[in-house]
């Protein structure tokens, strides 16, 4: 009976073979990647090109720790760490046997030399790295995990040395970066022999190149996600990690309040962004803060008009006409700005879209971290408002978020995810929830 049952099952199962799967990574091949931004410098300490930097820096340089979207710290160059009860003193144990690309061993001195910060002091204690601060720093791991805190050794002629999984083969600023596998990487040699990254490609150019098989990995805009998936392709989409906001600076509180109440976020989200985003009333996305309900996104024209009126009663010189600028090379930003201008009329506010130097600017601000306190600090840096370090409790975060919006004149509009699409030969690609790419774990199928 058992034999019959088994044979019958075997016969049925033969007709329903699953797809290939469960295979181990294979070595070899070059991964061809395109990106929208034009990365002009590989130095992690530089600002700008945040999305590209988030993806490129970890290929070359390591941080002491990595922190995932859930706030869990994972060992990188530090294998262990300990904080005192007040979170004012942290001690890090370095991974033994790590070497920079030129063979120089990683030392606590090298790590400390690159860890400059206004809020803390790093020092060497024997083989350990100690970080001390007068303020409590419960979110220090998330701060250390930022790309700008990557450990870099600077050569006498200014060349950068890292400990990451790839080494620089060639770099043409803003155009092309060629990487080779770091045979001595502490995490093991990457599976692919190399990575070739072309910068400055529009999303459309990237999509065409992928369809023609000329590249293996491309970026996908938030507004493209729905279309890509309707065509049966699976984009890898992060949590919403980018804030789209109007930034007007201090002094326009009532106009900005009126504008916020006028913008029909839900409709823009549905039509222009095709669902690939979240309407934002607050700086932080719901997955990070859990307090989104306190920042409503509903249109309220009456309240908007009242806010504008109240503003003019307080300051008669206040204007009802504003100019709004956005990145001229960003087509989506331009569309969003025009819709904002259209909505603004509903509350009696005239907004004119200009190419530069407006009263308001429509900005895309990367949140940079899954830690709400650190993300707020990052947004604060972008809009020129100082956010207290070490915030972690949801109540504190909420108050800081409100303060940042008030002081920076920030009107959050949307939270966008980062998305990517891979070609048929790529295996093992898994964009993390914060939008990072672990290309060292990818491998290529076939010749």
């Amino acid at each position: 009976m058992k034999r019959i049952a088994c044979c019958l099952l075997a016969a049925i199962s033969w007709l329903t073979w699953p797809a290939w799967g469960g295979v181990r990574p294979r070595y070899g091949g070059t991964l061809r990647v395109t990106m929208t931004e034009s990365l002009r410098s590989l130095d992690p300490a530089q600002d700008g090109n945040a999305a590209a930097r988030t993806r490129v820096t970890p290929l070359l340089f390591d941080t002491l720790v990595r922190v995932d979207a859930e706030g869990r710290g994972h060992p990188q160059l530090a294998v262990a760490w300990q904080a005192d009860r007040s979170f004012k003193k942290w001690q890090f144990w370095l991974r033994p046997g790590v070497r920079f690309w030129d063979g120089t061993p990683l030392t606590a001195e090298t790590v400390v030399a690159g860890l400059g910060h206004a809020q803390w002091k790093a020092r060497v204690n024997g083989e350990f790295v100690v970080i001390e601060s007068e303020a409590s720093l419960p979110g220090l791991l998330a701060e250390l995990a930022l790309a700008r805190n990557a450990v870099v050794r600077r050569g006498s002629t200014g060349q950068l040395m890292g400990t990451g999984p790839f080494v620089i083969k060639s770099f043409v600023a803003g155009k092309l970066l060629e990487l080779a596998a770091n045979e001595a990487s502490w995490g093991g040699r990457p599976f692919v022999d190399g990575v070739q990254i072309e910068f400055g490609k529009t999303l459309r150019e990237q999509m065409v190149a992928l369809q023609l098989g000329k590249v293996d990995l491309i970026e996908v805009g938030a507004e493209q996600i729905g279309k890509v998936e309707s065509e049966g392709r699976k984009a890898q989409v992060s949590f919403p990690v980018e804030l789209v906001a109007l930034v007007g600076g201090p002094g326009r509180t009532k106009e900005l309040e009126a504008l916020s109440l006028a913008v029909d976020r839900k409709s823009i989200q549905s039509v222009l962004l095709r669902g690939g985003s979240e309407a934002a009333g607050g700086v932080l996305p719901e997955w990070m803060s859990g307090t989104g309900v306190l920042f409503p996104v509903q249109v309220d024209v009456e309240k908007g008009r009242a806010a504008l009126k109240a503003g003019q009663a307080k300051a008669p010189a206040a204007t009802r006409a504003l100019t709004l600028s956005c990145d001229p090379g960003d087509g989506l930003a331009r569309l969003l700005a025009e819709r904002v201008a259209l909505n603004a009329r509903e509350v009696g506010l005239s907004v004119q879209v200009v190419s530069s130097g407006g009263d308001l600017h429509l900005e895309r601000i990367p949140l940079g971290s899954g830690d709400p306190g650190v993300a707020l600090e990052e947004v604060g840096r972008a809009v020129g408002v100082k956010v207290a370090p070490g915030l972690s409790a949801p109540g504190e975060i909420y108050l800081a978020e409100k303060k940042l919006m008030d002081e920076g004149g920030v009107v959050p509009l949307f939270h966008l995810p980062l998305a990517a699409l891979v070609g048929e030969r790529v295996r093992g690609f898994l964009a993390d929830k914060l939008g990072g790419w672990g290309l060292e774990e990818d491998w290529m199928e076939g010749p």
Binding site: C6, A10, G22, T291, Y398
Partner: protein
């Protein structure tokens, strides 16, 4: 209240609850009830696979057991309700205290909304706990028209914790907001099984660093777990594995990225440890230790065969210690399986190039379209030809699964349903005849999970 309690007890694991919530027994009633209904309580308490509630409902349908089943349901429901309330009491007290500081005593309208993944039962329990705590602060409840203050409570969440918000409006004053963070509970462990040849998995061990292998010692009283840094020795006590000792693995150079390793029980010592370019043995001069040497020791396969492992990659080189019949070398491979036959042993190699080689001592036959992955292990189920191949593959959800294949006439045929795992299978090694150890990288939990997989021939 009684009807709510009944629902809470039975539906604690219903479709609205994203993670099965354990229903521990509480208070003085626990021991008494465990004694009375030990069988049922043991089954339902861990709430492992969301079927326990359904099992209780089915119990209620039996005519002869109807009265008893209802009693059990009622007891469970009361216990479930009591548990739910107790879980939320502390955060509800904190939120109530903060709210009462703003409202003061008097008539307050309280509205509770849910934007989180909490179930209706949990939301009701939170509301009950909150109202109870507010009442203790002198608040009495009124509708909006008659209230001196309006409190809108929203139960929200982020990826780390539940976040409870209260927006408070007292008279015409500007609203104030109070926020309380509530840690999330642990999820239960889900088990699954195949059919035909039945596969069952038991979670042995979980840790953040990649587990490479695990072996049971002393008939399951002890266990050794290998990762890239150490061998951890454990013993089973009080229903869980307790650490005895960690033996560090000393090695001079960086491991390959897709690190593999194997534990083998030694003949005159506890363990041999095989790693790429390194070989370790346990020694006991007083305390137990692990002595490692940089050495390309051939790794043991089934049936006494050994094979060279590439020190810088994730595969066997293809060099084997002795010929398989007339075949003296095979292409580089990820895994090898020996299937004993009446007069010979059929070797199956999962090649690095994606092909599968079947070597019977005379010929090296290449199977091209075999739908299994790189990892395979020999298992003895008693079904079909006796010995089968357990091989990794991918499910529709993107996670990996294990499936058993028979090779009756040199053509592999699936003879089990897939046993799915919560991630990618990163190691698979044969254990005792009808067992294997599978290690899975659970991306969601950022942990590696070692499972013992049991294979039995179904009826």
């Amino acid at each position: 209240m009684a009807s709510y309690s009944l629902i809470a007890g039975v539906k604690a694991c219903d479709a609205h609850t994203p993670k099965c919530r354990p229903l521990p027994l509480v208070g003085m009633t626990k021991s008494a009830l465990e004694g009375l209904f030990s069988g049922w309580l043991r089954d339902s308490r861990p709430c492992r696979n969301c079927k326990d509630g359904a099992a209780l409902v089915r119990l209620g349908r039996g005519r002869s057991q109807h009265g008893l089943a209802c009693a059990v349901m009622l007891i469970f429901s009361l216990l479930g309700s009591a548990h739910a309330t107790s879980v939320w009491e502390d955060p509800a007290r904190e939120l109530a205290r903060k709210v009462a500081e703003s409202t003061g005593p008097g008539a307050v309208a309280v509205e509770v909304g849910n934007r989180s993944s909490l179930s209706k039962a949990d939301v009701a329990a939170v509301r009950t706990a909150l109202e109870g705590e507010l009442a203790k602060s002198g608040v009495h409840f009124a509708d909006r028209e008659r209230a001196e203050a309006v409190v809108v409570v929203t139960l929200s969440e982020n990826v780390r914790e539940y976040v409870w918000l209260a927006e408070i409006a007292v008279g015409k004053n500007e609203r104030s907001v109070v926020v309380v963070a509530v840690p999330r509970g642990e999820a239960g462990v889900v088990q699954a099984a195949g059919s035909g040849v039945v596969l069952r998995k038991q979670l042995l061990w979980t840790q953040e660093e990649a587990v490479l292998d695990a072996v049971m010692l002393d008939s399951g009283a002890h266990m050794a777990v290998l990762d890239g840094s150490r061998v951890t020795l454990l013993h089973w006590e009080k229903g869980k594995w307790q650490k005895d000792q960690e033996l560090p693995v000393q090695h001079g150079r960086a491991w390959p990225r897709d690190l593999r390793g194997r534990l083998v029980v030694g003949k005159d010592h506890l363990l041999d440890v095989y790693l790429p370019g390194a070989f370790c043995q346990t020694t006991q001069h007083g305390a137990m230790a692990l002595e490692c040497v940089a050495k390309d020791e051939a790794w043991p396969l089934d049936d006494g065969l050994r094979a060279g492992f590439d020190a810088e990659r994730n595969y066997f080189t293809g060099a084997i210690s002795s010929a398989v019949g007339k075949i003296t070398s095979v292409p580089a491979f990820y895994s090898a399986v020996a299937l004993p036959r009446e007069k010979y042993t059929l070797w199956v190699f999962a090649g690095v190039d994606g092909t599968v080689h079947a070597v019977d001592g005379m010929t090296d036959q290449v199977w091209h379209a075999v739908p299994w992955g790189s990892d395979a292990a020999a298992v003895h189920t008693g079904c079909g030809a006796g010995w089968q191949v357990a091989a990794s593959g991918k499910t529709d959800t993107g996670n990996d699964e294990l499936k058993v294949y028979d090779v009756p006439d040199r053509e592999p045929m699936a003879m089990s349903a897939g046993l799915s795992f919560p991630g990618r299978i990163t190691a698979l090694w044969a254990g005792l005849e009808s067992q294997a150890v599978a290690v899975v990288h659970n991306e969601e939990a950022s942990r590696y999970e070692a499972y013992r997989v049991l294979f039995t021939c179904g009826d």
